[in-house]
Amino acid sequence: MWGGRRIDGTTPRHYFPVEMPSPDTLKSLLVAAFPDARVEVTDLTGTKDHFQAVVVTRAFDGKTRIEQHQMVYAALGDLMAGDIHALALTTRVS
């Protein structure tokens, strides 16, 4: 999204365009990490920062739910630390 001039006439520090992740960005990261997976990603709010993801893969076999979610977070890496504000997550073994 584009920043602009503030109402008081000053320019914010980040006036360059900030690339927000799209559902496709998340999906490609997840498919790269779990090649056999069925992945569905939805942008819940249309603002590219609240997502819902369903990941179904053999890689989750034998893992606890916590471990499955941790694997997804690891695959998304830095996006989880900043650009993604919320990710409603469902994981299942295929």
Binding site: R65, I66, H69, Q70, Y73, A74, M80, A81, A86, L87, A88, L89, T90
Partner: protein, 106 residues
């Protein structure tokens, strides 16, 4: 992670048997997901303590590393990580949560 932060986190985790690290407080949750877990714990009818991570940037960052979990809320029982909003909601719905929280089967 710095040792003093790790020590603080480990002592915080055992402040209560059931510890919820959340955005805001139980009376004024600052996030819908944190609020969801507060409401679930109230429904389960167990005593729980909350810690507002918005008021403490060191704990907010440190606990994410400690648990390898990048988001809040985070629920702990007896110092052990149980899950975030999605997992706690699922366990509440399928009836697992009561046992984890140490409730006697009724």
């Amino acid at each position: 992670m710095a040792d003093d932060i790790r020590t603080r986190i480990e002592s915080l985790l055992t402040t209560g048997k059931v510890m919820l690290f959340m955005k805001g407080t139980r009376s004024f949750p600052a996030c819908g997901f944190s609020n969801t877990v507060v409401q679930i714990l109230k429904k389960e009818g167990v005593a729980f303590e909350t810690f507002n991570i918005l008021a403490d940037p060191d704990v907010r960052q440190g606990l994410k590393q400690y648990s390898s979990w990048p988001t809040y809320p985070q629920l702990y029982v007896d110092g052990k990580f149980v899950g975030g909003c999605d997992i706690v909601t699922e366990m509440h719905q399928n009836g697992e949560l009561g046992g984890v929280l140490g409730k006697k089967p009724s």
